[in-house]
């Protein structure tokens, strides 16, 4: 056993280590458990769940871009009810934190989903995906509207018995203002960032490479942007941050912690190296030993400007 303490807290949520798997890049945990021991990592964030099952977008849904990829999955998911019935029994078997990510098209739907899930013991926290079109406001994304972010946070907090994290969109000019809105409405932490809007064309057909025209950019290409967003939040708002965006190595993860993240999520990398969340643990220990860091949580926000 190493003397290094890897445990961290994200607001009230205690984690064995800061390694979380990001929403939409681990499904509901079963496939990736062929490659890693879920009991060794901090936890997993489920694919965004909505009240009713969603079929998702027409293919083509994914395309590789330089050091990254675009996706337009369209929040395809099995819905809350099916999740409770068929996925929870599997997840129950693990001693790891299950963070339930919720996506909805109205404030009422966010609340309804939270109500249905909050009594399930297996779930440790909620992550609210606000990068979804607000159907009542003509499809404008909640994540682009500070008032809507505050409203969702406030209403979800009212019915949740678990910590609530708001997952912020990077497609705004000042992300820290959104983090502040979430904090003031009672959020326990923010997750940053979701994907950046992007597109790509086929030059022979002149058509977009993904059917939805635009998609969400993820992977190493977005890491510098994501780091800057985490830093901006850290320097302006006093709220725990879960760092996400282009982490492909333990070094990338350490950068996010230095910039201000209490924990971090691995996304696209799971597609390429599905075992990295587990192999990274030892690398983090070695780094702490080398740097004489007794507790990894001391790294959070330790940047020197």
């Amino acid at each position: 056993m190493s003397a290094v303490d890897l445990s961290v807290s994200v607001g009230p949520l205690k984690l064995r280590n800061p390694i979380l798997l990001a929403s939409g890049t681990v499904g509901y945990g079963n496939e990736i458990s062929e490659f890693i021991d879920l009991n060794k990592i901090g936890g997993i964030v489920t694919k965004s769940l909505s009240l009713k099952p969603r079929k998702g977008n027409t293919p083509q849904r994914v395309i590789e871009t330089p050091s990254g990829m675009l996706n337009a999955i369209g929040l395809a998911n099995i819905g809350v009810e099916e999740f409770l019935k068929t996925k929870i029994p599997f997840l129950k078997k693990f001693d790891t934190k299950i963070i339930c990510n919720i996506a909805a098209s109205s404030v009422e739907e966010y609340v309804e989903c939270t109500k249905l899930l909050t009594d399930e013991d297996t779930i440790s926290a909620f992550e609210i995906n606000v990068s979804c079109p607000n159907v009542k406001e003509g499809g404008l994304e909640f994540g682009n509207d500070k008032k809507a972010v505050a409203k969702i946070t406030e209403e979800v907090k009212k019915v949740s018995t678990k910590p609530v994290f708001i997952k912020l969109s990077p497609n705004v000019s000042r992300i820290s203002e959104f983090a502040l809105a979430a904090k003031e409405a009672g959020a326990d932490a923010v997750s940053a960032i979701n994907t950046l809007v992007g597109t790509a064309f086929d030059i022979m057909t002149r058509k977009p490479k993904i059917k939805n025209i635009t998609g969400g950019l993820s992977g190493p290409a977005i890491k510098p942007v994501a780091l800057a967003k985490v830093l901006e939040i850290r320097r302006n708002v006093d709220i725990p941050i879960i760092g996400i965006g282009g982490i492909f190595s333990w070094q990338d993860a350490v950068e996010f912690m230095i910039a201000g993240a209490s924990a971090f999520q691995l996304g696209t990398v799971n597609f390429v190296h599905p075992n990295i969340s587990e192999t990274m643990i030892n690398d983090l220990i070695l780094y702490c030993e080398k740097m004489k860091i007794a507790s990894l949580k001391n790294l959070t926000g330790s940047f020197i400007l």
Binding site: V26, K55, Q60, E64, M69, P220, F248, N270, F271, V272
Partner: protein, 255 residues
């Protein structure tokens, strides 16, 4: 499914733009089934970033082979692999062909690089005593692959090799010969070809399985990037990487 560091044994060019890559991995070789695929991280860098899927072409002891055409950056990197190098391979993925069914003759229908999964399938079908008839097609002679096929007839769009027309047109012109026999069709190729093969099987009520393709990000069911429309439930997509890549012709609606 495993992650394996597979050792390159050889890269062999078998056609104008057709290559065989032979890799050593006892784990993958021992567990592979015909019609399954491997997902290869072709480089150690972020370029290309995602794994690339390839059908398992054949298995021999601790070795397995993939057959590929060079179409972009990833396949170009593979083409240049040297003996002794190691390649990061995930596999074997997907469901594979089912050898079951009420048939004595297996009819193989390949379009272009769709020939890739058949050497392995043919070997396994022969082991259980099935008779093999192959049809292979391509745009030109260079695109028509007959590698390790048995009793093969060819079709090319330009007539440069065998029948002039598509491989499904060739099959239509030949099928009468098997009308009193119990047959099952195994197909692989571009979507347009699979669609016409599907139609062919529907009109004649022939049992068939087809191996399909889709763009993919993960290759093992976690990204939802590879949907194909279910034919039985209009509200449902199936995943090519996990529910496929092989489907009964009756189960999917091709794009």
């Amino acid at each position: 499914m495993f992650l394996a560091n597979a050792k390159v044994d050889s890269v062999t060019q078998i056609g104008t733009n057709v290559f065989l890559l032979k890799l050593q991995s006892d784990k993958i070789a021992a567990n592979a089934k015909p019609g399954q695929f491997v997902n290869i991280k072709v480089s150690n860098s972020n370029f290309p970033l995602l794994r690339r899927p390839f059908s398992i072409c054949n298995v021999e002891g601790d070795y397995f082979t993939i057959m590929f055409t060079s179409v972009g950056e990833g396949t170009l990197v593979l083409q240049k692999k040297q003996k002794g190098e190691f390649v990061d391979v995930m596999g074997s993925a997907g469901n594979g062909f089912s050898l079951d069914g009420n048939y004595e003759k297996a009819i193989i229908v390949a379009g272009g690089i769709g020939a890739a999964p058949f050497p392995f399938l043919i070997k396994e079908l022969e082991k259980i005593g099935k008779e093999i008839i192959c049809f292979s097609g391509g745009r030109t002679k260079n695109d028509c692959i007959t590698y390790e096929m048995k009793n093969v007839s060819t079709a090319t769009d330009d007539g440069s090799f065998g029948f002039k027309g598509t491989v499904v047109e060739l099959l239509s012109s030949e099928i009468a010969r098997y009308k009193n026999e119990r047959i099952k069709i195994f197909g692989c190729g571009p979507n347009a070809m699979l669609k016409s093969l599907q139609q062919f099987c529907f009109t004649r009520n022939i049992e068939a399985e087809i191996s399909t393709e889709s763009s993919m990000a993960c290759g093992f069911g976690i990204c939802q990037g590879c949907p194909v429309q279910s034919a039985t439930d209009k509200n449902k997509f199936l995943l090519v990487c996990k529910d496929g890549p092989v489907f009964n012709v009756k189960d999917i609606e091709l794009p």
